[in-house]
């Protein structure tokens, strides 16, 4: 598996179900993607589409007693899904790391910043406490915390949200992981701080040659930071490809809907966005055919009600651009052209 051509991280047919009192929750359903070192994959989709659960499954953070994970997540040829709890724990924080949405609650309120950072060093490296603290200091410096010598002895509540997210980033990267999963790292922050945090992640990514999975429901930031994009809906990837594929050659009706709902800088404020009508499906009772069918405006163009009854597969339409939709190429192109023209028109 470790041949030169194998991707750095390759997720294959990853599925996650939660048995609950109300029934089986199919949170992630046959997700596949890959990421290379130094590259960024953006995973986008509405709330509940399975983005976080996918990330937690890769990180081995899901409780095995409360969930069932199938499929593979090959990290340099070793399958994270097949590892036992202790093996995958040793990968966490060293080879792969994760940062979360809410920096306010993601740090332990009772421990000093320095202690929390050193702890991350000490689990994975055989170094003295003093050396761990030195590394913590160095890392705080790198993530742009002013006056790190004072800040290292602060408690989390003494820092602003942006500073706390910087601390989280420092903690995630302190063992130089090769994979960083960022689960909506800027959603809870002010707009100005958002840009700084994204820039910081970008810079550190270059420095460490990190593979980044950036989870977001904000398509607005994706174009700037991502190399590849996977669009998730109802636990499945419904379209994936390069940033250009997704932004300039989108094919799947859901992706088109997402693009139409993004606020654009050139758009007049008063003008209404076009949110997709309807709600995401319940993961307990997913539609048997296309998960997007109940909200899709084009399913009547497909013969024999196939959208309602037949599950579409994710099909590569060339150059790594994959689409999960029953419409044929010509139909998709026509629809996409209409939507994109309308968008360009409203933006003018």
């Amino acid at each position: 598996m470790t041949s030169a051509s194998a991707p750095f991280l390759s997720v294959q047919d990853l599925s996650v179900t939660f048995p609950t009192e109300d029934g089986r929750v199919q949170a992630v359903d046959g997700v596949s993607f890959s990421v290379e070192r130094g590259k960024t994959l953006a995973v986008v989709g509405e709330s509940g589409s399975g983005k976080s659960v996918t990330a937690q499954a890769i990180m081995g953070l899901l409780d095995r007693r409360l969930s069932s994970v199938t499929g593979h997540a090959w990290l340099e040829g070793r399958d994270l899904v097949a590892m036992d709890d202790d093996e995958v724990r040793r990968e966490r924080g060293s080879r792969m790391a994760m940062i979360f949405q809410d920096p306010m609650s993601s740090l332990h309120p009772f421990y000093r910043i320095g202690a929390q950072l050193s702890e991350a060093v000490l689990v994975h490296q055989k170094v003295s406490k003093q050396a761990a603290r030195e590394q913590a200091l160095e890392m705080l410096n790198r993530v742009g915390i002013p006056d790190p010598r004072t800040r290292i002895d602060n408690y989390p509540h003494q820092l602003s949200g942006g500073m706390r997210q910087r601390v989280m980033i420092a903690m995630a990267l302190i063992n130089s992981p090769a994979l960083l999963i960022a689960d909506e790292p800027t959603t809870a922050l002010d707009v100005t701080v958002q840009a700084q945090i994204l820039e910081l992640i970008g810079n550190l990514q270059q420095e460490y040659d990190t593979a980044v999975i950036m989870i977001t429901h904000d398509l607005g930031i994706v174009a700037d930071i991502a190399d590849d994009v996977a669009v998730m809906y109802g636990g499945r990837i419904v379209e994936s490809g390069s940033v250009d594929d997704i932004f300039y050659r989108p094919q799947m009706p859901y992706t088109l809907g997402l693009l139409a709902s993004v606020p654009r800088l050139d758009q007049v404020r008063a003008e209404r966005l076009d949110p997709i009508p309807g709600n995401p499906p319940s993961p307990i009772s997913l539609p048997p055919g296309c998960v997007f069918q109940p909200r899709c405006a084009y399913s009547d163009r497909v013969a024999d009600h196939a959208c309602e009854g037949v599950r579409p597969e994710l099909v590569d339409i060339g150059g790594g651009h994959a689409v999960r939709c029953h419409l044929d190429g010509g139909q998709r192109l026509a629809i996409a052209t209409d939507v994109l023209d309308a968008l360009a028109g409203s933006g003018a």
């Binding site: 953070l61 724990r89 040793r90 990968e91 979360f100 809410d102 740090l107 332990h108 689990v123 989280m168």
Partner: protein
């Protein structure tokens, strides 16, 4: 930071003193409104209304309530003499919490003599219930939803719903009377006869602890489950910490903090007397003294016990808050 902690302590101590003053005033006024007449208790069978009135005057019970309160407060610090101008004055030395004419004894002395039994009972039960409640609560939380969790919670529910006078009486009947595993309870100081002390205390400890342990199991379990779902626990796992470190270092510290509050206040409550347990096992503690004082309508004693019990609780509040500040930097530094 140290400075901020000390200003915090000073602020808290000052407010505690203020609270004590207010509380004693309220208790004093409240009890003076009761229909019980302390002067009535100052003479025996051969009482006439004239003697009662004379006594009322001599003891200052005909003074306005606030004036009486002032005498009372003064007595705490410098002692006081009842009926000073009469041929047989009653001396009550500082700290004077009042005088029980019914028992012919200073209230402070009455309480002081009863305190050891209550303190032993409370602390013994406290240790037992914390040990059992917290450890089983954690165990239950870590095995959430499985049979171990269900059994522990089932036991807790039983312990919770059985009234302690019932288990107390059942225990006395079987363990002491039927099977004669223990002698009849007869309180003695542990310094005098440790074996008899333990034989007397073991059942009251267990029975008193059962009720609280059940409550603490549930409390601990719920706290732990809540904390285990917190974001910083996910962070701790994402760092690659072994699960046992996640639990011991990250979850327990946060999960047990609120339990400090509950434990402190519950202990303080018991120091004011465990009425049922003390009565069942005839332990000479504050609780049984309180029952007797109410039966006798012995107002000075009731006031004294109420104040002492309330002082314990106010004091426990202070200790608990200070502990909190030590544990949680957000309290200390904001």
């Amino acid at each position: 930071m140290i400075r901020r902690l000390s200003t915090y302590v000073i602020r808290r101590v000052l407010s505690m003193i203020l609270l004590l003053v207010l509380l004693s005033l309220v208790v004093f006024i409240l009890f003076s409104l009761l229909p019980a007449d302390p002067a009535r208790l100052t003479c025996g069978k051969s009482c006439t209304p004239e003697i009662i009135e004379a006594n009322r005057h001599r003891l200052g019970l005909d003074m306005p309530v606030l004036a009486q309160y002032w005498e009372f407060v003064k007595g705490i610090f410098v002692g006081r003499t009842y009926a000073a101008n009469s041929p047989d004055p009653v001396q009550c030395s500082a700290p004077c919490l009042g005088y029980s004419f019914k028992r012919g004894e200073e209230v402070f002395v009455l309480i002081k003599d009863r305190l050891p039994a209550t303190i032993w009972l409370a602390f013994g039960a406290f240790v037992l219930w914390l040990a059992a409640g917290i450890s089983l609560g954690i165990y239950s939380a870590l095995r959430r939803g499985r049979w171990q969790d269900r059994s522990v919670m089932g036991v807790a529910l039983v312990g919770y719903s059985l009234p302690s006078f019932f288990i107390g009486l059942v225990a006395i009947f079987f363990i002491i009377i039927r099977w004669q595993l223990l002698p009849f309870p007869s309180y003695i100081s542990p310094l005098e006869n440790p074996v008899q002390f333990l034989q007397t205390m073991i059942l009251p400890w267990i029975i008193l602890a059962t009720l609280y342990a059940a409550f603490y199991m549930r409390l601990t379990r719920n706290q732990m489950l809540e904390v285990l779902g917190d974001d910083y626990i996910r962070t701790a796992r994402a760092k690659g910490l072994p699960e046992r470190v996640v639990i011991r270092k990250h979850a327990l510290r946060a999960g047990l903090t609120p339990i400090v509050t509950a434990a402190g206040l519950d202990l303080a409550g018991l120091l004011g007397g465990a009425i049922i347990t003390e009565s069942i096992f005839s332990l000479p503690g504050i609780g049984s003294l309180a029952v007797n004082s109410v039966n006798d309508a012995d107002l000075p004693l009731i006031v004294g016990i109420t104040l002492v019990a309330a002082t314990f609780i106010i004091f426990a509040n202070l200790i608990v808050d200070l502990l909190y500040a030590v544990i949680d930097p957000r309290v200390r530094l904001s």
